[in-house]
């Protein structure tokens, strides 16, 4: 039982490489339909891309790809982008022989890897070179073998260099032992990705030279005039002064957008129009996977309500929405019941509102429904960045002196109760120039890095403290003042848009906290970065600068994340679940990737039940490559 169309001797793949064509209608890899049920004959080439069973032979190689009119050398698994849909069964032991057939001198490097995103497995099966295993070198085959202990929708991708950006990603569907607690007649994967004709390494270099390259929406003199007319001259000047003092741009929503990217749905462009068929009255399960490198997508199907039934592969109490934001690496399963129209558009626009990709649900191939226009572009506010409680009243900021030290770094410290900081390793206060105001507080004893904040009141409106390693750090361009969980916030650009939009607060696992223990300790980490230098890290430190985070095998701990940047970061912990908590610290939803909007502070529980070294990182590929990554080492 295996690898139907590609066979075992995958090494012969290069001769069978297909020309991945995005502009052509359909696209080579379109139509990832599952479960051809009785009376459903979907004439879709995508069927060939489903591999199921327990034995898999996957070959990583180069493939010519054309999504824009220009042919580029992409990297693919068994010649396809996305990589074949793998269907496993919970409880079985899968064998995956992954061969690196990259040619010598490939732009994608000589080493490859596959990481099974969100899958619980032994550390040496996780597929991160240098942490889990040595990587797969040219001509070598690595045998992944593990028992599948979960069901749901996941994905897999390379963890080597920039290969993920160049095409090495694919959907992963695990059939659960128990049938799903909801009904559906058809089942499709909808994988959203971003493609660039650029060499990803050159794209990374471009970000280092000019991080704002893709932002063609910076505020202009004309915007100033308009704002002055609408909001008054004084308010507009105040607003510009705030952003000017911070030396930031409120239209920086994402680092790379549709000015560089072509967005793909199941490996085809809007023109290719991936189509999933239905019959009126049927329920259709759509498994959305954000397999992009750098893009948050906002997804809706005009005319249809979507009932979200699973997040990151795990069942949630059904919640019906019009739209959801899916961060890089997240998955959402939704059920829709199309009727009354022959065709519906699946519309996914990027968070920065620069582009979109669309596909169609239709009663037959070739139909299309109207494609909506991309929404108006949102502008970040000070409240978005967690300089909170002030709303649009910029006057509140007037008392702030010394903005040089960063937003809020110089705010009055009098209200802070430093006596509550009992742990010597707790994050210290603010930037150096302010220390004089902290009477009698021994900064030297506070050390750097993350530590227990137990006993501190993190309630809304409280002043956020920051790790000492952020103080005077040239790679930290901002510190948030009063971050809040924002769990019920649909997100920038999605508020009050007249549609019901999913928020994390609406996601509730169908099960109680499977561990049940109170976390024994808190680990607080701040997401930090410098937009101009395009440097990213945790607590102002890059991956290469710090020692691994150590978890004790068996312990239950709480990770508290604070976003000290103006970007949105999806944070992914390998090997273990991230059990998101609500504002009161109760278990909310089990996930593998926690999205962190600017100005947010979110906490989740981790049960350290997986021995070994695990990657922990921002899933925006170039943020990770720029240093926003840690090793988590679970030790006995």
């Amino acid at each position: 039982m295996s690898s139907d169309s590609f066979g075992r001797n995958g090494l012969s793949m290069p001769s069978r490489r297909r020309f991945v064509q995005g502009l052509a209608a359909g696209g080579a890899a379109a139509g990832l339909g599952l479960w051809p049920r009785a009376s459903w004959a979907l004439a879709s080439p995508g069927q060939a891309n489903v591999l199921s069973g327990t034995e898999f032979d996957l070959v990583i190689g180069e493939t010519p790809a054309n999504f824009t009119g220009r042919t580029r050398t992409a990297i693919a698994v068994n010649g396809s982008i996305p990589a074949p849909l793998l269907r496993w069964k919970e409880g079985t032991t899968v064998n995956l022989r992954v061969t690196n057939a990259l040619p010598a001198g490939s732009v994608h490097g000589h080493e490859a890897s596959i990481h099974w995103h969100g899958i619980l497995l032994p550390a040496n099966m996780d597929g991160v070179p240098g942490l889990s295993f040595g990587g797969i070198h040219r001509g070598e085959t690595y045998h992944y073998r593990f028992t599948v202990r979960q069901g749901g929708t996941y994905w897999y991708h390379s963890h080597s260099g920039y290969q993920e950006q160049a095409g090495l990603y694919g959907p992963l569907v695990i059939d659960p032992i128990e049938p799903a607690p909801f009904a559906y007649d058809r089942d499709y994967v909808v994988m959203l990705t971003d493609w660039t004709d650029m060499d990803p390494a050159a794209l990374f270099s471009r970000l280092k030279k000019m991080s704002g390259y893709d932002n063609h929406s910076r505020r202009t003199v004309g915007d100033f005039m308009r704002d002055a007319r609408n909001n008054g001259l004084a308010a507009t000047i105040d607003d510009r002064r705030m952003w000017g003092e911070m030396r930031m741009t409120p239209t920086d929503l994402s680092d790379i957008n549709a000015n560089t990217y072509t967005y793909l749905m199941n490996g085809t462009t809007s023109l290719g129009n991936w189509t999933g068929l239905f019959r009126t009255g049927e329920k259709v399960r759509l498994r959305f996977i954000n397999g992009s490198s750098m893009t948050h997508f906002d997804v809706r199907i005009p005319g249809l309500k979507m009932t979200v039934v699973a997040a990151d592969g795990q069942y949630v109490h059904p919640v019906t929405v019009d739209e959801f934001r899916i961060a890089t690496a997240e998955t959402f399963d939704v059920v829709v019941a199309p009727s009354g129209q022959d065709a519906f558009t699946i519309f996914a626009q990027d968070m920065g509102r620069t582009g979109h990709v669309s596909g169609t649900l239709a009663v037959r191939e070739g139909l299309r429904a109207p494609v909506p226009a991309v929404d108006p572009r949102p502008i970040l506010t000070m409240a978005d960045m967690g300089h909170g409680g002030m709303g649009h009243d910029m006057k509140g900021m007037k008392d702030m002196k010394g903005m040089e030290g960063g937003c809020g770094a110089a705010m009055g410290m009098a209200g802070m109760d430093h006596a509550q900081v009992t742990d010597a390793s707790a994050p210290s206060g603010h930037s150096g120039h302010d220390m004089s105001k902290m009477q009698g507080h021994d900064m030297a004893s506070m050390g750097s890095g993350s530590g227990s904040m137990a006993g501190m009141d993190h309630g809304a409106g409280g002043m956020q403290q920051h790790p000492a390693s952020e103080d005077g750090n040239p790679l930290v361009d901002m510190q948030t003042m009063a971050p809040v969980p924002k769990l019920d916030d649909p997100g920038i650009g999605l508020r009050d848009n007249g549609r019901k939009v999913l928020s994390y607060a609406m996601l509730k696992s169908t099960f109680d906290d499977p561990d049940g223990r109170d976390p024994g300790r808190d680990v607080e980490l701040h997401l930090t970065g410098h937009m101009e230098r395009f440097a990213w890290g945790f607590n102002g430190q890059k991956f290469s600068e710090v020692e691994p985070l150590r978890f004790n095998y068996g312990e239950r701990l709480r990770i508290v994340l604070v976003n000290d940047t103006m970007m949105t970061h999806p944070i992914h912990l390998h090997g273990m679940w991230s059990d998101l908590e609500d504002e009161q610290g109760n278990f909310l939803v089990r996930k593998h990737t926690i999205d962190m909007p600017p100005g947010s502070r979110r906490s989740y529980r981790v049960r350290a039940d997986a021995l070994g070294s695990w990657a922990y990182h921002c899933h925006l590929l170039f943020h990770m490559e720029a240093g926003m990554m840690r090793e988590v080492r679970v030790v006995e």
């Binding site: 990374f204 202009t220 040239p474 169908t510 290469s544």
Partner: protein, 339 residues
């Protein structure tokens, strides 16, 4: 073991099964079995086994404690052999807790040698790009002008190579009038990011012209002042003790996202008169310009500009002596290019 029960009854039953199954799975480990065997391989079977009877249990408000299988799960495993899981929990938490909150509902699997072998780190480190060497070359001004002194070319360029923190800088400025190089300098500096917005640079400067060539040691700052003014300020000490300083600030006003108005101000100061190069001490020369560029692409932006130059004090006197204009206004046409 606080169990907030769920609204959807069938689901609840399903997940209850899972907990029960896990417990059972774990209890199987207490029985003699090959050490290396994967625990999870027993999962399907045990789940199936538990599935039938438990599906019949009607979910109640407080189902978990009532449930026989669950009781076995939580307590049964801890009593006969409390050592592994409990010891770890205490070590991790460091303080006593009520037993209920202390014990995981889903037991922590007991580690086997196979688990330990799988967790051995690989010999090679994770390849990182977070300190990669990057480069940036910018011809900020590359322009032709028509002034009283004649037509000419002027350039101002800079380049860096290095990481986010440590960079090697090259900077050059110069002017060519009527086919003759009138002024040209080249700076080679080490730059280090010292704060959020500022780099300190230190190195050497070589002046090819005007006059005979001369060398300086240079120390300066480069960075982004509040409101996004780009500022360069450098002080120089020459090989024969002469001192000077150059301060430059520029700003970008976006008329549109492609049409950018760039005002610029440059001040030159000198510690002493240099008659040979026709420079006086103090503030010798100031230049203010506005350049309007159109970004055809980000990396190529042609511009037109208006530049006004003033000389002061002894420098102005030298110019008068030489029958040159003390102040000068010129129209420039050029391109801003980076790669």
């Amino acid at each position: 073991m606080k169990t907030r029960f769920l609204s959807v009854a069938p689901l609840a039953a399903g997940w209850l099964l899972l907990f029960g199954a896990n417990a059972q799975e774990h209890s199987q480990h207490q029985m003699p079995m090959p050490a290396a065997q994967e625990h999870s391989q027993h999962q399907p079977k045990s789940r199936k086994k538990t599935a039938r009877p438990e599906a019949a249990v009607p979910p109640s408000k407080n189902a978990t404690p009532d449930h026989p299988a669950m009781d076995h799960a939580a307590l049964g495993h801890a009593m006969p052999e409390p050592a592994p899981a409990e010891a770890i929990d205490h070590a991790a938490m460091g303080h006593a807790m009520p037993p209920a909150a202390d014990q995981p509902i889903t037991p922590i699997p007991v580690l086997t040698d196979a688990d330990r072998a799988a967790a051995l780190p690989p010999p090679n480190a994770h390849p990182v790009h977070d300190n990669s060497i990057q480069s940036f070359v910018l011809f900020n001004r590359l322009e032709a002008f028509d002034a009283d002194a004649g037509t000419g070319l002027e350039w101002q360029a800079q380049a860096w190579f290095g990481t986010d923190i440590n960079k090697l800088w090259l900077r050059s400025e110069g002017e060519r009038v009527d086919g003759e190089i009138e002024a040209a300098d080249l700076e080679l500096m080490y730059g280090r990011s010292v704060s959020r917005w500022w780099d300190v640079v230190a190195g050497i400067r070589h002046d090819f012209k005007p006059g005979p060539s001369q060398d300086f040691a240079a120390l300066g700052v480069m960075g982004l002042a509040p409101y996004k003014f780009e500022v360069d300020a450098t002080a120089y000490i020459g090989s024969s003790g002469q001192t000077s300083a150059r301060i430059e600030a520029e700003y970008e006003t976006l008329l549109t996202n492609r049409l950018v108005l760039q005002p610029l101000l440059e001040l030159n100061l000198h510690g002493q008169d240099d008659e040979r190069r026709r420079i006086g001490s103090g503030l010798s020369r100031a230049e203010a310009g506005v350049r309007l560029r159109y970004e055809v692409t980000r990396q190529f932006a042609p511009y037109v500009g208006l530049v006004r130059e003033w000389t002061f004090g002894r420098t102005a006197d030298f110019r008068r002596e030489d029958d040159e204009a003390v102040n000068d206004t010129r129209i420039v046409v050029g391109a801003r290019i980076w790669f």
